[in-house]
């Protein structure tokens, strides 16, 4: 056990290449997926908060349900869609980082949209009447409220990042856990633990936790600064 810890520390201190490659790929895939999730989820969530149309409550219910999509099911559906005989098979994305981005984006987007809807709906309760009285269209009101809640939405982005980077089922199915190509921190930790290479698994685990703490700290700093500036 002591030897495992020593090897883990050694891997981290010497910036072990395996650790760096895997961590960088994980970060790249998850940040891209979260970027896509934010780009789609924030406008959709904000519009659902401000616009009134038939079927809106059904849509909100579905969105909330999709927050809890089982990753492995998402992976399976994407596998079928991206496989050679699937509707998007011609893209050749299966077992590439692109497929993993798609899987994590599918998981992150409903989460972002549902949390954004809640945050924007709370702001709408306070500002909505004023914005409607200004004669602003629903998209313009949504945009104004996204701007108003931008610091709260950082938490939404964090939740999405947490969901994406810690996910294993979907990326394993559509990525294949190919060494040096689609191996992420979570899939590598799982594999290396099974193989008995606990030092690499632990090193990756510590990097994963460190990244999550670092990103949360940055977000907390941003929010504190914003609270001082804008109340």
């Amino acid at each position: 056990m002591l030897q495992t810890f020593q090897e883990t520390i050694s891997r981290l201190v010497t910036l072990d290449r395996d650790v760096l490659v895997i961590a960088w790929l994980s970060l790249r895939v998850s940040l891209t997926a979260v970027g896509i999730g934010l780009g789609i989820g924030i406008p959709v969530g904000a519009l659902l908060a401000v616009a009134m149309f038939p079927g809106r409550s059904v849509l909100v219910g579905l969105l909330n349900a999709f927050m809890g999509l089982p990753p492995v099911i998402v992976g399976l559906v994407l596998y079928l869609v991206l496989s050679r005989s699937g509707p998007l098979g011609s893209l050749g994305l299966l077992f590439t980082p692109g497929a993993m981005v798609a899987a994590q984006a599918v998981l992150a987007t409903p989460l972002v949209a549902a949390l954004t809807r809640q945050v924007v709906a709370d702001a709408e309760a306070h500002l909505g009447e004023q914005l409607r009285s200004l004669g602003l269209s629903a998209p313009r009101r949504a945009l104004a409220l996204i701007h108003d809640t931008r610091f709260s939405l950082v938490t939404t982005a964090l939740a999405a990042f947490g969901r994406a980077i810690s996910e294993i089922g979907a990326v394993l199915v559509v990525g294949g856990n190919i060494d040096g190509h689609t191996r992420t921190m979570t899939t590598a930790i799982s594999l290396e633990t099974q193989k008995g290479d606990l030092s690499l698994a632990l090193a990756l685990g510590l990097v994963l936790i460190g990244l999550v703490i670092l990103i949360n700290a940055l977000a907390a700093t941003l929010r504190a600064h914003a609270a001082r500036a804008y109340g």
């Binding site: 009285s133 804008y230 109340g231």
Partner: protein, 238 residues
């Protein structure tokens, strides 16, 4: 300036009657005050006039030569977490102006309310009085034909109240019809040319401010002016 005709307005929410066949004519000139006790339907009437609330029955007819540009000032300033300038400029976006023109008009509006030097300040960091002046700047920037103000000084100290009253009077002087909801009869006397008294969702009396406040005809008006309690005694009497 537009005149407003309210006919048989009815509005209920969650089983509570808010407007109960309210009919009134609001003159085209100057400032008209809507007064009455809490729950009389004053704020709801303003919202129905603005289109923020759709009445269950009845109609609002705004008599004007052309399209009427409206602005609404709420009791509690509703401001975005953005600069004072951005808050005013936002109100100008539906007008289809260029960004430069929006900024120019927003700066001009802030200067008119005495906030010219606070343009880049976060709106939510302004004092209560400054925030309400900012909402007036936002309303004024769109050069409205009709300004609806719902107890705009209810949360302000006397100094800030005086400033806001001065601005409302100035907006009216420049040709905007103002409909003001207020519980402050001194303010109503200072600002309004005429008054509509509401009680339990109906207009019970209307007329020139001084005449109505010195010689009220409706018992509800007399009770409201003299502060007679409980108000509900009229329900029992009638």
């Amino acid at each position: 300036m537009p005149a407003i005709e309210l006919s048989d307005l009815a509005l209920a929410r969650n089983g509570t009657t808010i407007l109960d066949g309210l009919s009134a004519g609001i003159s085209a000139a100057g400032i008209t005050a809507l007064i009455g006790p809490n729950g009389a339907g004053k704020s709801a009437t303003l919202r129905v006039i603005d289109g923020l609330l759709a009445p269950d029955a009845g109609s609002v007819r705004i008599v004007a030569a052309g399209p009427v540009r409206r602005a609404f000032v709420f009791q509690r300033p509703a401001l975005l977490r953005a600069s004072a300038l951005a808050n005013v400029a936002l109100a100008l976006t539906p007008l289809g102006l260029s960004r430069t023109e929006r900024t120019r008009r927003a700066h001009a509006a802030l200067a008119r309310v005495g906030l010219g030097d606070r343009a880049s300040a976060p709106a939510t960091r302004l004092s209560g009085g400054e925030q309400q002046r900012l909402t007036l700047a936002r309303a004024w920037a769109v050069e409205p034909d009709l300004l609806l103000a719902d107890e705009p000084t209810a949360n302000l100290d006397p100094g800030a109240t005086e400033l806001v009253e001065g601005l409302i009077a100035e907006i009216a002087r420049q040709g905007t019809k103002v409909v003001l909801v207020s519980h402050n009869l001194g303010q109503v006397t200072r600002l309004a040319a005429d008054v509509v008294v509401l009680a339990r969702g109906r207009a019970v009396e209307q007329g020139p401010t001084r005449t109505l406040l010195t010689s009220p005809r409706a018992p509800e008006t007399r009770a409201y002016i003299t502060g007679e309690l409980p108000w509900t005694s009229f329900a029992a009497a009638s």
